[in-house]
C-alpha cells in the first residue's frame, strides 16, 4: 500500500468522550506525541446522559483515575454542584463519592485540562477507516480524505458505532441526539474480523426547571462541606445546589402499561440487550409490577441552565406518551419537556478480543476503551481510556504493558472481567464485583496506584510530590501508633475497657475496637493529637478493618501466586488434553492470560484448570 501520510502521531485517540479524553491526556503525559480526533471539539467531555460523576464503586473508579493523574476527578471538582457520599451509613469500603455536575462547567474544565496538556493536539474530524499492515495498525483515514500515520490508536467511539436512536415508533441514525453516527469505523472493525454485538442504553427526557413545582417536592442537599474527588483538590469552590425528590404513582404506571406496545423494547423494534442495572421506567414497571412507586431525583444540569435531568425515568416511549406520563408525577404536572428521552442501540466489540492492556489481539497497536467494549458509565469509560492511553504510549515506546490486577484496583477488576468473561449486557461496576473490596477503597486509591503511575511515567511532578508527602505522614503516624502501648489496667484508668488479660496493646491495635477512634486515643496519648485530615481518615479506616484486612491480604497473596501461572498467549487449546469441546471453545474465545483468569471464566471447571496447569507446566521454559 502506498503510504502517503498527511500527518503523523505516536498515538491517535479516536473520540472525545470520557474514555477518549483520559486516553489522550494519559498518552501525552507519558510523552507520546498524541492526537485526539473527534467529530466536534465543542462536545469534548460531554455528559451525554446523567449530569453526575461517581457513585457506589464508580466513585472508587474516579479516585483511581485521579491517582494515576487522570482528569475526571479534577474536572468534576471544578464542575460539581452537589457532592454526596453514598452509603454513608455503611462502612468506608462500600461508600461511594458522587457529585452532580454543571455540564457546561464540566466540558469547560475538561477542555482546559486537555488544552494545558503538553504534547496533545485536538483535531476535529471523523475517522472513516483504519489502515492495517502486517497485522499492525499503520494509520487512519479521515472522512475528508486526510491520512494520519500512527504507532498506536485508541478507539473510544462510545455509542457512535452504527448508533440508532429510538423514540417511540420513530428511529433515526445518530451517535447521540444531534450528532451523526459512525459507519466507516464499524465497517472497518468488522472487516478486520472483530466480532461486533449490539447493545442498548437509554436516557430520560430533559425538563425545563422553571416549569417544575419545586415547592411541593422534598429537597435533598449535598454534603457540607463537599468532599472533593481529586487528591489534588483542597476544597470545592463551585456553588452547591439541592435536587428534588419525587415519585411515580399508579397513574404513571397505568399510562406506561397502556402504551407498552409503543415502547421499542416491547414492540420488538429493539432486540439488543440493555442494562438491567439502569432499567428504563417501562422496564421497572413491568419487572417490578408489585412496586407502587419508583423514586425520581430531579437533578439540575447547571447553575445557570434551567435544564433538569429526571434521574430514574429513562424511557424510549413516544414523545407524547412521555409528556402524558410525566404529567402524572407530583411536581411535574406542568413541566415542559425540553427534549424527549430516547433509547440508543450501538455496536460494541466483544472485549475478549483484548488483552489486559486493552490492546486488540487481532491488530497490534489498536486499543479499544469505553462503551465500545460493552461497558456503561463515564467512570468505567474513563478508567479504560486512561489504561489504554498509557499502554498505547508504552507500546509505541517499546515498553512492556501497564497492567492492573484485581487486587490493585477496580480498574483491574473491570478490565479482567471484560477481557476474560466478555459481557452480554452493558457492564457496570459494583463493589460486589471486587473480591478484595476492603482493600480497594476510595481513601487509599493514591496509595494503591500513584506509585505504580509514577513508575510507569503517567503521573506528573505536582501529584508525585503531594503523594510522597502524604505517604510519609501516613508512615510516620502508623509508626507512632504502633509504638505507643498500654496495659489493660492503664487503659481502664483512661476509661477504655478491654479484656483484663494483662496483654499490652498498641494504639494501632486499639483502633480495631469498636468505639475507639483517634480522638479517643489522643486523650491518652496527646502526641497523637496532631494527626489529622486525610491521614487520620485513612488510619481510622485501616485500623478499624485491620483483622479483616490481614485475612484479605493473605487471599491477595494466594491470588497473585496463581496469577503468576501465566498461560501463553499462543497456547493452542486443541493440544491440551482432557478438555471438553465446550471448555476448549470457551478458553479459545477468552484466551485467559493466567490460570487465575481462566478460573474466572464461567463453565471452566477446577478440573479443566488442573489440566491446563499440567499442560503449561509440561511446556519447555515453563518449569514454574
Amino acid at each position: 500500500m502506498k503510504q502517503d501520510w498527511d500527518r503523523r502521531a505516536d498515538v491517535v485517540v479516536i473520540g472525545g468522550g470520557h474514555a477518549g479524553c483520559e486516553a489522550a491526556a494519559a498518552a501525552a503525559r507519558m510523552g507520546a506525541a498524541t492526537m485526539l480526533v473527534t467529530q466536534r471539539l465543542e462536545t469534548l467531555g460531554e455528559m451525554s446522559c446523567n449530569p453526575a460523576i461517581g457513585g457506589l464503586a464508580k466513585g472508587q473508579l474516579v479516585r483511581e483515575i485521579d491517582a494515576l493523574d487522570g482528569l475526571m476527578g479534577r474536572a468534576i471538582d471544578a464542575a460539581g454542584i452537589q457532592f454526596r457520599i453514598l452509603n454513608r451509613s455503611k462502612g468506608p469500603a462500600v461508600q461511594g463519592p458522587r457529585a452532580q455536575a454543571d455540564r457546561a462547567l464540566y466540558r469547560r474544565a475538561m477542555r482546559r485540562l486537555l488544552d494545558a496538556q503538553a504534547g496533545l493536539e485536538l483535531l476535529a474530524g471523523t475517522v472513516e477507516d483504519l489502515v492495517v499492515a502486517d497485522g499492525r495498525l499503520a494509520g487512519l483515514v479521515l472522512a475528508d480524505g486526510r491520512r494520519i500515520a500512527c504507532g498506536a490508536a485508541v478507539v473510544t467511539t462510545g455509542t457512535f458505532l452504527r448508533g440508532l436512536i429510538h423514540c417511540g415508533e420513530k428511529r433515526w441514525p445518530a451517535g447521540r441526539v444531534g450528532d451523526a453516527p459512525s459507519y466507516g469505523l464499524s465497517a472497518a472493525l468488522g472487516r478486520l474480523g472483530f466480532p461486533l454485538g449490539r447493545l442498548k442504553t437509554g436516557t430520560p427526557a430533559r425538563l425545563d426547571g422553571r416549569t417544575i413545582d419545586w415547592a411541593v417536592l422534598e429537597m435533598q442537599a449535598g454534603d457540607d462541606p463537599p468532599v472533593p474527588f481529586s487528591f489534588l483538590t483542597d476544597r470545592i469552590a463551585t456553588p452547591q445546589v439541592s435536587c428534588g425528590i419525587t415519585f411515580t404513582n399508579e397513574r404513571t404506571h397505568a399510562v406506561i402499561r397502556a402504551n407498552l406496545h409503543r415502547a421499542p423494547m416491547y414492540s420488538g423494534q429493539i432486540e439488543s440487550v440493555g442494562p438491567r442495572y439502569c432499567p428504563s421506567i417501562e422496564d421497572k414497571v413491568v419487572r417490578f409490577a408489585d412496586k407502587d412507586r419508583h423514586q425520581i431525583f430531579l437533578e439540575p444540569e447547571g447553575l445557570d441552565d434551567p435544564t433538569v435531568y429526571p434521574n430514574g425515568v429513562s424511557t424510549s416511549l413516544p414523545a407524547e406518551v412521555q409528556a402524558e406520563m410525566l404529567a402524572t408525577i407530583p411536581g411535574l404536572e406542568r413541566a415542559a419537556i425540553l427534549r424527549p428521552g430516547y433509547a440508543i442501540e450501538y455496536d460494541f466489540v466483544d472485549p475478549r478480543e483484548l488483552d489486559h492492556a486493552l490492546e486488540t489481539r487481532r491488530v497490534r497497536g489498536l486499543f479499544l476503551a469505553g462503551q465500545i467494549n460493552g461497558t456503561t458509565g463515564y467512570e468505567e469509560a474513563g478508567g479504560q481510556g486512561l489504561l489504554a492511553g498509557i499502554n498505547a504510549a508504552r507500546m509505541v515506546a517499546g515498553s512492556p504493558p501497564f497492567v492492573l490486577d484485581r487486587a490493585d484496583a477496580y480498574i483491574g477488576v473491570m478490565v479482567d472481567d471484560l477481557v476474560t468473561l466478555g459481557t452480554a449486557e452493558p457492564y457496570r461496576m459494583f463493589t460486589s464485583r471486587a473480591e478484595y473490596r476492603l482493600i480497594l477503597r476510595a481513601d487509599n486509591a493514591d496509595a494503591r496506584l500513584t506509585p505504580k503511575g509514577l513508575a510507569a511515567g503517567c503521573v506528573g511532578g505536582e501529584r508525585g510530590a503531594r503523594f510522597q508527602a502524604k505517604a510519609a505522614a501516613l508512615a510516620a503516624a502508623r509508626c507512632r501508633l504502633a509504638e505507643l502501648t498500654a496495659s489493660p489496667t492503664a487503659l481502664r484508668r483512661h476509661g477504655l475497657e478491654v479484656n483484663q488479660d494483662g496483654v499490652v496493646r498498641s494504639a494501632w491495635e486499639l483502633l480495631a475496637y469498636r468505639g475507639i477512634d483517634l480522638e479517643r486515643l489522643a486523650a491518652i496519648w496527646p502526641e497523637l493529637g496532631d494527626i489529622g485530615g486525610e491521614v487520620a481518615g485513612q488510619l481510622a479506616i485501616e485500623g478499624g478493618y485491620q483483622g479483616y484486612l490481614a485475612r484479605q491480604e493473605a487471599e491477595v497473596r494466594a491470588y497473585r501466586r496463581e496469577e503468576e501461572l501465566a498461560l501463553p498467549a499462543d497456547l493452542d487449546y486443541a493440544t491440551v488434553g482432557s478438555l471438553s469441546a465446550e471448555v476448549r471453545q470457551k478458553l479459545a474465545a477468552a484466551r485467559p492470560a493466567s490460570l487465575a483468569a481462566a478460573a474466572r471464566i464461567p463453565g471452566i471447571t477446577p478440573a479443566a484448570l488442573a489440566a491446563l496447569l499440567a499442560h503449561v507446566r509440561k511446556r519447555p521454559g515453563n518449569a514454574a
Binding site: 462500600v94 463493589t431 473480591e435 494466594a558 501466586r561 482432557s578 474466572r600
Partner: protein, 467 residues
C-alpha cells in the same frame, strides 16, 4: 452460561487459592494398570485410559474396536503375533467412561506371566503405568465427579466392614457433596441479599433484609456446629474405632485380644509383663470397624522398658474411643486400683479367668457392669462381643445426614463455622459480607470448587494404583 448472574460474588466460587504445587503428570498420555488385586487369580482386570486406549485395544486384539460398553471375547497378541491370553475386552469411548477419557478394559486370566506380557505389550505401544490414584484423578479433572465422590471411591476400595462400605457408597453417590453444596447455597443466597443491600442501597431495598439473612446464617452455623459435634463419627468409621485393652499384668489382656481376633496376634505367655509395647489388631465387630490395642500391664514397673510400655498404655487409654478394662478374677483383690482408675463412661469392664475365679466377682465397677469371661475357655466372650458391638455402634451410628469423613472436610467446615459465627448483622455490612464470602469459599474447598491443585495433591496422595 452463567452470564445472567447479577453479582460478582458468584465468581468467588472459582477464585482459587493455588499453592503452586506441581501436578504429577499431564493428562494427554495414556495410562494402564492392573485394576484388580495382584498375584494369581481367576480373573485380572486391566484398565487403560487416555487417547491411546482405543488404538492399543485394536492393536492387542487385532480387530476393530468392539461396540461401546459391550463385553466381547478376544484373543490378545503380543508384538510378535503370539497369543498372550484369551479373555474379554470392553470399550468405553469418552466421555461415557469412569475417567471421562477413552477407556478400555481387559478381563484376562490372573497369572503373573500373563500380566508381564500384557504390561510389556502396552509399554511397547507407548502407554505408561498409572500412578497411584491417577484414574480417579482424571475422573475429577474431567468433571466426572467432585472430590468427595473421588474420596469415596478410595474409601470403598479400602472398606473392610459393612458400615465402612455403606458410608463410602453413600458418599460416592454424592450424599456428602449435596449436603455441603446445600450449605454453600444457603451462604450464597444470604450473600446475595447482603451484596444487594450494599450495591443497590438507593434503589428501595426492603428494610428487613438483614433480619432474614441473619436468621438463615445462625441456623446454618448451628447446623454445621451439629455436624462438627458428631464425635468425628465419619472419620472414625473410616479409620476404625479405637479400643484399648487395659489391665494389670497377667490379667489376660493378650489372651482376650486373641479370643476376640480368633487368631494369635499378640504374644501370649503366663509371665507377667510380656507385652511391653502396644499391639494393634483390626477387627470387624458386627460390621463396625474397630482397632483393638493390647497394652502393657499396669503396675509399678520393674524395668525401664516396662515403665515405658506402661506410659504408652496410659497414653493409649487417653486417646482411645473405648476402653476394655480387664480385671484378673484369680487375683486378690480382683479389682486393682490402677485399672479401676481408668474406668469411666467409655469403658467396658470384664473380669477374666471366670473359670478359675474363687468368687468375689463384683457386679459393677465404678458403676459399669462387669462381665465375667474366660479367655481360656471362651465362656462369656459372646456377651462381651455383644457389649462391645453395642458400645461401638452407639459411637459410630449417626443420624441421617452423610458425615464428614476426612480431616480436611472438618477443617474447612470449622473455618466456615467460624466465619458464620463472626457474621454480625448489626455490625458493618461490608464485614458481614466478607464473613459470608469466606464461609462460602471454605465450603467450596470441600467439594473441590476451588483450591484445585493443592486439593488434588492431598486427595490423591493416598490412593493405590489402578483405582
Amino acid at each position: 452460561m452463567g452470564r445472567e448472574r447479577l453479582f460478582a460474588y458468584a465468581q468467588d466460587d472459582k477464585r482459587g487459592d493455588h499453592r503452586g504445587k506441581v501436578l504429577a503428570a499431564g493428562m494427554t498420555d495414556t495410562i494402564f494398570a492392573l485394576a484388580s488385586g495382584a498375584g494369581r487369580a481367576g480373573v485380572a482386570v486391566y484398565r487403560l485410559s487416555g487417547p491411546g486406549a482405543g488404538p492399543a485395544l485394536a492393536a492387542l486384539t487385532g480387530r476393530d474396536l468392539p461396540a461401546p460398553r459391550t463385553a466381547v471375547r478376544a484373543r490378545l497378541r503380543d508384538g510378535g503375533g503370539d497369543v498372550i491370553d484369551d479373555g474379554l475386552a470392553l470399550w468405553f469411548p469418552a466421555p461415557r467412561s469412569f475417567t471421562g477419557e477413552d477407556v478400555a478394559e481387559l478381563h484376562l486370566h490372573g497369572g503373573r506371566a500373563v500380566g508381564r506380557a500384557v504390561a510389556e505389550r502396552l509399554l511397547g505401544l507407548g502407554l505408561r503405568p498409572a500412578e497411584a490414584g491417577e484414574f480417579s484423578r482424571r475422573a475429577v479433572v474431567n468433571g466426572k465427579m467432585d472430590l468427595t465422590r473421588a474420596e469415596a471411591v478410595a474409601d470403598l476400595v479400602e472398606a473392610e466392614t459393612a458400615a465402612q462400605r455403606r458410608q463410602a457408597l453413600r458418599q460416592m453417590d454424592g450424599g456428602l457433596e449435596s449436603r455441603i453444596e446445600g450449605w454453600r447455597q444457603i451462604v450464597v443466597g444470604a450473600l446475595a441479599y447482603v451484596e444487594a443491600a450494599i450495591d443497590f442501597a438507593d434503589e428501595g431495598m426492603p428494610g428487613d433484609l438483614m433480619a432474614g439473612v441473619s436468621a438463615r446464617v445462625s441456623a446454618l452455623a448451628a447446623e454445621i456446629e451439629a455436624a462438627l459435634a458428631d464425635n468425628r463419627r465419619g472419620e472414625r468409621l473410616r479409620d476404625g474405632l479405637h479400643i484399648a485393652i487395659l489391665g494389670a499384668p497377667n490379667a489376660g489382656k493378650s489372651s482376650l485380644l486373641n479370643r476376640l481376633a480368633g487368631r494369635e496376634a499378640a504374644i501370649v505367655s503366663g509371665i507377667a509383663g510380656t507385652t511391653r509395647d502396644v499391639i494393634e489388631v483390626h477387627l470387624d465387630l458386627g460390621g463396625w470397624p474397630v482397632v483393638v490395642a493390647d497394652t502393657a500391664g499396669l503396675r509399678d514397673a520393674a524395668g525401664e522398658i516396662e515403665a515405658e510400655g506402661i506410659r504408652r498404655a496410659l497414653a493409649r487409654a487417653q486417646a482411645a474411643d473405648l476402653k476394655l478394662a480387664v480385671f484378673d478374677g484369680a487375683a486378690r483383690p480382683v479389682i486393682d486400683g490402677a485399672t479401676r482408675a481408668l474406668v469411666d463412661g467409655d469403658a467396658v469392664v470384664v473380669v477374666n479367668k471366670a473359670d478359675i475365679a474363687g468368687g468375689g466377682v463384683p457386679a459393677t465397677v465404678e458403676g459399669r457392669p462387669a462381665l465375667a469371661v474366660s479367655a481360656r475357655t471362651g465362656a462369656g466372650i459372646d456377651a462381651l462381643v455383644a457389649a462391645l458391638e453395642h458400645e461401638v455402634a452407639s459411637r459410630l451410628e449417626g443420624g441421617g445426614a452423610p458425615p464428614l469423613t476426612r480431616e480436611r472436610h472438618r477443617a474447612a467446615a470449622m473455618e466456615c463455622r467460624t466465619a458464620l459465627r463472626r457474621f454480625d448483622p448489626a455490625g458493618e455490612i461490608e464485614l458481614a459480607a466478607e464473613d459470608l464470602r469466606m464461609a462460602g469459599r471454605a465450603l467450596g474447598r470441600i467439594t473441590g470448587r476451588i483450591d484445585v491443585e493443592e486439593l488434588l495433591d492431598v486427595v490423591f496422595r493416598d490412593f493405590c494404583i489402578g483405582k
